[in-house]
């Protein structure tokens, strides 16, 4: 690797202050530090530093997303071939789906990273790693048939108005990936709802065999016609229509395991989201006023984006609650509201996205109350001592 390092060192002066290409300094630094962990050493404070950095952190999340991505590729192919009534092998389904998803990933990364590079250069910062995860999350929560220009627009919206205007990674209020989805959901609702967008080819009116609906379990529940509902096991494995990465609960759970073993994501948030969903599910079961309320509570965990949201979206440390006690409350309310929105608001059969975005907004408030209780504890301690002295 020495020869590569020498080459990098040779071109480095061009990008430094006053160099011919100094306008591309952030880009150069981004690529350099991507390839080589910098040679910067400690000066004051702790002389040794943990090997973990944000690149490693984000990389672990990307690895945790791989099972969902791989299964999503397979499922995309599977649903497509089902819709046209063709039989395809596992490998063919996977390959077909992968080739359909790849452009989405490329567009998401090119648009998002491009904006990050420009923003970093304007601010004179190093390029932040946050988008490594966002860039893969965005395609995974999209319907497969979403047009690329729409994806590009949504990504740009999420990165610029969701993140960069607040100061970049670490400063954002809302989860950028969910913002991208919300953007399409509200701007082009036809591409984020209905029965046609979840299966590749349906929107283009390809030859669909009779009896294939393409409706997601959630929309079946919302319309009250659950005759075509897949079984719990099918939904758990994920061979159902839905956003690319959200369908397979088992793939998501593998990702959750990776995040929990490495300690990257908060187990408290994950557990409490499921806890909140459980409580609301049971409550609605007890009321049982319509078909959707009668759906067994545990179905909510495997339908739609509940599991994906709990594992990958709610656990975003920047937009979530930052105190440990706050994380319990934050997660619980996300679970509670997700199921509530799903069942009681037929216009939004997918409640998870809105529940998380709503709680993103309230996370600082939750933290505020937790921190205030710490402050009060400290003040009370001082008062007791003063009282004793008098």
């Amino acid at each position: 690797m020495n020869s590569l390092r020498k080459r990098v060192d040779k071109i480095k002066p061009y990008f430094e202050e006053g160099g011919k290409l100094s306008k591309l300094r952030s880009v150069f630094e981004g690529f350099e530090s991507f390839m080589f962990v910098p040679n910067k050493v400690t000066f004051k404070g702790s002389h040794i530093r943990d090997n973990i950095d944000l690149k490693r952190t984000m990389f672990v999340v990307v690895v945790a997303l791989l099972p969902a991505l791989l299964f999503g590729s397979y499922n995309t192919g599977l649903q497509h071939f089902r819709s046209v009534g063709a039989d395809a092998s596992l490998l063919l389904s996977f390959w077909y789906g992968f080739l359909r998803i790849l452009p989405l990933i490329i567009v998401s990364y090119v648009v998002g990273l491009g904006i990050e590079f420009i923003a970093a250069q304007i601010r004179g910062h190093e390029i932040n790693e946050g988008f490594l995860v966002t860039g893969i999350l965005i395609p995974l929560i999209m319907p497969i048939d979403v047009p690329l220009w729409m994806l590009a627009l949504a990504t740009a919206f999420a990165v610029i108005l969701g993140k960069e205007v607040f100061g970049g990674t670490g400063m954002n209020i809302f989860n950028p990936a969910l913002l991208a989805r919300a953007f399409i959901f509200f701007s082009y609702p036809g591409w984020m709802t209905g029965d046609n967008v979840w299966t590749d080819g349906l929107t283009k009116g390809q030859n669909i065999i009779d009896g294939f609906s393409g409706a997601t379990p959630l929309s079946m529940c919302a319309t009250g016609d659950i005759s075509g509902m897949p079984s719990f096991m099918e939904m758990f494995i994920g061979t159902i229509p839905g956003s690319i990465g959200e369908t397979s609960t088992i793939a998501i759970l593998i990702g959750a395991l990776i995040l929990l073993v490495t300690g990257i994501a908060s187990w408290k948030i994950m557990v409490s989201v499921f806890g909140g969903g459980l409580v609301m599910g049971l409550l609605l079961n007890a009321i049982s006023a319509n078909t959707f309320m009668e759906i067994p509570f545990y179905y909510h965990f495997v339908m739609g984006g509940f599991a994906f949201g709990a594992v990958f979206m709610a656990t975003d440390p920047v937009s979530g609650a930052q105190t440990e006690k706050g994380k319990w409350i934050y997660g619980f309310l996300i679970g509670l509201l997700s199921v509530l929105f799903r069942v009681l608001n037929p216009a939004y059969p997918e409640g998870v996205m809105l529940a998380i975005l709503l709680m993103n907004m309230f996370a600082p408030l939750i933290d505020h109350f937790i921190v205030q209780s710490n402050i009060r504890r400290r003040l009370r301690r001082a008062e007791i001592i003063i009282a004793n002295k008098v």
Binding site: T42, G45, R49, D50, I52, D53, E324
Partner: protein, 450 residues
């Protein structure tokens, strides 16, 4: 009744190079250095110039804002240079040892002296700077009355010296006399905090009038700041003092024999030391003789103190005023190809994101590389895992960065010092210089309150 505090949160960084429990010998170097930079917030005013002949205990400089606080020479000899840094800031006063002259401060039984007499003796001899205070982690103000005084009887920092071993090799009487002098400085309790593992040495600490408490748990359980937080927390307007373990002996020595003799048994540690062992020496000694012919390689980082809170020194630098340890580790000024992507069976990390996470017993040889670039706060809930205090670290840090003095006060700035946050800095994936942030916050607080 002694109290026991069991701490769960914290981290013992597994590094190679612990000192073997052998005193390798006395280290009597020719050169000694006293460094004003060891004392945060101090503006030194020199009392000597190069060429002056001085005795052990002669004042070298004093605090410009509090001239009664003197800093004295550990040995007799000649002042050979005053090293200055940027903007003529005094870095160190170098003394070449000659003879054994010392200033006689007069021996006395502390129990027969008044608080003022004890304070005066400490001030004159140069031992007063050993007394520090919370809030702010600075040298105590002689006029204050602390609500209690703490002595931590163990050190949990990486490769730290074993205080039991030091106690067994030091004059017990000095410790007792030291404590009886310290007792006079407060109307409250003198807390001696010991590690919760009944050792034979601990019987020696049954001294009249000392409140013994036990702490268990990983680093920073041995930090006096953590101990104060759990036993007698500092509220606004209150002051708690603390004294390093080995300075208690030096204070005892002052009253027993009337001399300033800051003896230290120090641990020479770190992965790059051939024979990590203990040495008997004096505060401010040159580390060169210990290190010469005792290191494994070149391009090394020499640290007075431990890897978390110590000060970078040269190979011929001097032991810091508050340090009982010298650590030598490799520098890390090299590029690592896709270092963040490798499985990393040999990469030290508090997180479990590297392969090394599955070998809990493994010890590492970390270097001084940052392992990444500085970023904004992203990951949450990590600092709490290594800070056993009822304090919200990230919120306090953000309050400091924002310069919000009221909020800093609310969130506990009076209770913290940079050492307590050293582990947070170590594990921080955003590579934020947390100890510097804390010190900036403390400096701002001092400015606002004066």
């Amino acid at each position: 009744m002694s109290r026991t505090v069991r701490l769960k949160r914290g981290y013992n960084i597994p590094i190679k190079g612990e000192a073997e429990k052998i005193i390798a010998g006395e280290s009597n170097p020719i050169r000694y250095g006293v460094k004003p930079v060891d004392f945060p917030g101090l503006t030194p005013k020199l009392e000597v110039k190069p060429g002056d002949r001085i005795k052990a205990g002669s004042p070298l400089f004093h605090d410009k804002k509090a001239p009664e606080i003197k800093f004295t020479s550990p040995v007799s000899g000649d002042v050979i240079s005053v090293e200055r840094g940027e903007r003529r800031r005094i870095l160190e006063i170098v003394i070449e040892k000659r003879g054994n002259d010392h200033i006689d401060f007069g021996n006395a039984d502390p129990s027969s002296l008044s608080r003022e007499q004890i304070t005066e003796k400490l001030l004159l001899s140069g031992l007063w700077p050993a007394v520090r205070q919370r809030p702010y982690h600075i040298i105590a103000k002689p006029g204050d009355t602390p609500k209690s005084i703490f002595i931590s009887g163990f050190d949990t920092a990486p490769l730290a010296p074993d205080y039991d071993f030091i106690m067994d090799n030091s004059p017990e009487q000095f410790f007792k006399t030291g404590v009886s002098a310290i007792k006079k400085l407060t109307e409250g309790k003198v807390h001696l905090v010991l590690k919760k593992d009944k050792t034979k040495t601990q019987e020696k600490y049954n001294i009249d009038g000392v409140e013994i408490s036990y702490f268990s748990g990983p680093h920073p359980a041995g930090n006096v700041g953590i101990q104060i937080h759990h036993l007698d927390p500092v509220n606004k307007g209150e002051v708690v003092w603390y004294i390093n373990f080995q300075d208690v002996f030096a204070i005892g020595n002052l009253f027993e024999e009337g001399v300033y003799k800051p003896e230290r048994i120090i641990a020479l540690t770190g992965s790059e030391v051939m024979n990590p062992r203990y040495y008997r020496t004096l505060s401010g000694c040159s580390v060169a003789p210990m290190i010469r012919d005792n290191i494994k390689s070149w391009n090394l980082r020499y640290i007075s103190g431990n890897v978390l809170t110590g000060t970078k020194i040269n190979a011929d630098g001097y032991l810091g005023y508050y340090d009982s340890q010298v650590t030598v580790i490799p520098e890390g000024d090299n590029y690592e190809f896709f270092g963040w992507l490798l499985p990393g069976a040999d990469k030290l990390s508090f997180s479990k994101t590297f392969l090394s996470g599955i070998f809990p017993k493994k010890k590492f040889e970390p270097d001084t590389n940052f392992h990444g670039g500085e970023r904004a706060f992203v990951v949450t809930g990590q600092y709490e895992k290594v800070l056993p205090m009822d304090i919200y670290p990230m919120f306090l840090l953000k309050a400091i960065i924002a310069g919000d003095v009221d909020q800093m006060e609310n969130l506990g700035i009076y209770e913290v010092a940079e050492d307590d946050f050293a582990l947070c800095e170590f594990i921080c994936p955003s590579k934020i210089e947390i100890q510097s942030v804390i010190r900036e916050g403390i400096d701002l607080m001092i400015k606002e309150m004066s």
